[in-house]
């Protein structure tokens, strides 16, 4: 079934949709959750939670890309779970590693600055649009998919060193971009 048909089944509250979506996108969701969590049980739990959240949110939402929509839900649930586990000192936290890296891109802007979703979206997509495709893919794999450098290297057919160098440059570039957009003292 294509995505439009699957979304229509969800609107009709037909439970076949969940089974079909799972067959189509389980591997993709596992890929996302697997970058954030390590145990199979936790990954399975995230997948089940993501499918449940999808069922609850469509309708009323009608996303243009079911894959991206489900990917976002999966990512959010996996990150929340990882944070809880880190708080309970139950294992490594990929998100903490990423946060440590992103300190390089942080600017000195007012900490109380509140930005809404639209402003955040405009900023990050403005930054992403100006990148070459290869750079953007590496950036998104690291900071959205939370892939390790080794994984990115394997998937993109380049060396780990090249990935790390690219990410370092991109963080510097992001910092400069944010400063130019006024997010600095």
């Amino acid at each position: 079934m294509n995505d439009s048909e699957l979304i229509q089944l969800l609107f009709e509250r037909d439970e076949r949709a969940i089974g079909e979506i799972q067959i189509k996108y389980a591997a993709y969701c596992r890929y996302i959750a697997g970058n954030i969590l390590s145990s199979r049980e936790d990954i399975d739990e995230v997948l089940n939670d993501a499918l449940g959240a999808l069922w609850q949110s469509i309708p009323p939402n009608r996303p243009e890309s079911l894959k991206a929509y489900l990917g976002r839900i999966t990512r959010n649930i996996a990150i929340d779970k990882a944070k809880k586990m880190a708080a309970q000192k139950r294992g490594g936290n990929t998100t903490q590693e990423v946060l440590d890296e992103l300190k390089e891109a942080a600017t000195r802007g007012q900490p109380e600055q509140e930005l809404d979703a639209k402003q955040l979206g405009s900023l990050i997509n403005g930054f992403a649009a100006q990148l070459e495709q290869k750079q953007r893919v590496i950036f998104v794999k690291r900071y959205w998919y939370l892939c390790s450098s080794k994984q990115i290297a394997g998937e993109c057919g380049i060396s780990v060193n090249s990935v790390n160098t690219t990410l370092h440059r991109l963080r510097k570039q992001l910092k400069k971009y944010l400063e130019q957009e006024g997010y600095d003292i």
């Binding site: 079934m1 294509n2 439970e15 076949r16 969940i18 799972q22 067959i23 189509k24 389980a26 591997a27 993709y28 596992r30 890929y31 399975d44 997948l47 089940n48 939670d49 993501a50 499918l51 449940g52 959240a53 949110s57 939402n61 243009e64 890309s65 894959k67 991206a68 929509y69 976002r72 839900i73 959010n76 998100t95 990423v98 946060l99 440590d100 992103l102 300190k103 942080a106 600017t107 900490p111 930005l115 979703a117 955040l120 979206g121 990050i124 997509n125 992403a128 495709q133 953007r136 893919v137 998104v140 794999k141 959205w144 998919y145 998937e155 993109c156 057919g157 992001l174 944010l178 997010y183």
Partner: protein, 319 residues
């Protein structure tokens, strides 16, 4: 703006960038991957788990693991479950109960595995005599490019390298049932099957004695994400595609079986040969010419870690 805000900001990346970076072939776009232009969609926050029927929400397991293990080693059968390729759909009539166990795909093939269980003596006889063929068609009824109008892409018989046709099968006895691995090649002869169009798999009896035996046994094949794969090249410019589930040499056919005794070299220094990975294969006869040979593995490999493949007396590597 601190690092927490920057991280939060990344969650607002456009769908098109998320999809662009998905999977293992995102740097080089293949012709099967369309760019998706999408507006940003605000999503609801993650909700608590909702109770759905156990069969729908639970991760699918193989109904008959032994069927899959007729063709793959046990570690591969585990991975098929873990990585979401298990299906578990049932189709039944008064003569047979069929279970679609799993479906895996790469750029060149789609491989469903079915368990066929006979429910009466006539079905037992038909199955033991192999007097049936799998048949595939597009769900929307449109014709497959390269085939005559309305002609389904059908099986030409048991696995027989050199046969024509895009759909082969390899049945294996499994107790009272029969495991059936079907090989659907997206490009075979002059036929081109579009990977993004849904296929319907059914069966037809090959003699009047068994006419109607498979009526109603029908599966709309799911279209799971293709497994990871990549293209390798020989010094003479020949192309070889290798994926988690098999290979396809796209330029020629082997002049002798000896040339198919391949070796796969991995980044960690290990080497696996045809005797470990399998040699079951088929002439693809691409564009109706004598070129193209597909090999299907009996296990699952990590194609991303493949450095080179020795086959046909040449070494194929990434560019």
């Amino acid at each position: 703006m601190n690092e927490n805000k920057i991280f939060e900001m990344t969650s607002h990346l456009d769908d098109k960038y998320i999809l662009e970076a998905a999977g293992k072939q995102s740097i080089r776009q293949t012709k099967h991957h369309k760019r998706i232009s999408a507006k940003f969609v605000a999503i609801a926050a993650a909700a608590a788990v909702m109770t759905v029927t156990a069969g729908a929400a639970a991760v699918a397991k193989l109904t008959n693991k032994k069927s899959v293990e007729q063709y793959y080693d046990s570690s591969a059968a585990e991975k098929i479950e873990q990585e979401g390729y298990a299906v578990g759909k049932v189709s039944k009539n008064t003569h047979f109960e069929a279970v679609l166990e799993s479906v895996m795909r790469d750029e060149y093939r789609c491989i469903p595995i079915i368990t066929l269980k006979p429910l009466d003596d006539t079905a037992v006889k038909c199955m033991s005599e192999l007097r049936y063929d799998p048949v595939i068609e597009y769900k929307d009824g449109s014709s497959v490019s390269g085939m005559a109008d309305g002609e389904p892409v059908n099986n030409t018989g048991m696995i027989n390298p050199g046969s024509r046709g895009a759909c082969f099968y390899d049945p294996q006895k499994d107790g009272d049932s029969q495991a059936v691995k079907v090989f659907i090649y997206y490009k075979n002869g002059k036929a081109v099957i579009e990977p993004n169009k849904q296929l319907v798999l059914s069966f037809k009896a090959l003699s009047d004695d068994y006419k109607g035996l498979f009526d109603g046994i029908r599966f709309e094949l799911p279209t799971p994400e293709m497994v990871s794969g990549k293209m390798l090249y020989s010094p003479s410019g020949n192309e070889l595609y290798i994926s988690k589930i098999g290979m396809a040499e796209l330029s020629k056919v082997p002049e002798s079986p000896e040339l198919l005794k391949y070796k796969v070299h991995f980044a960690n220094g290990t080497v696996k040969t045809y005797s470990e990975l399998g040699m079951q294969g088929s002439n693809l006869q691409l564009d109706g010419k004598d070129k193209g040979w597909a090999i299907n593995f009996g296990t699952l490999i990590d194609a991303d870690q493949v450095e080179s493949v020795e086959i046909y007396g040449e070494t194929y590597k990434s560019k």
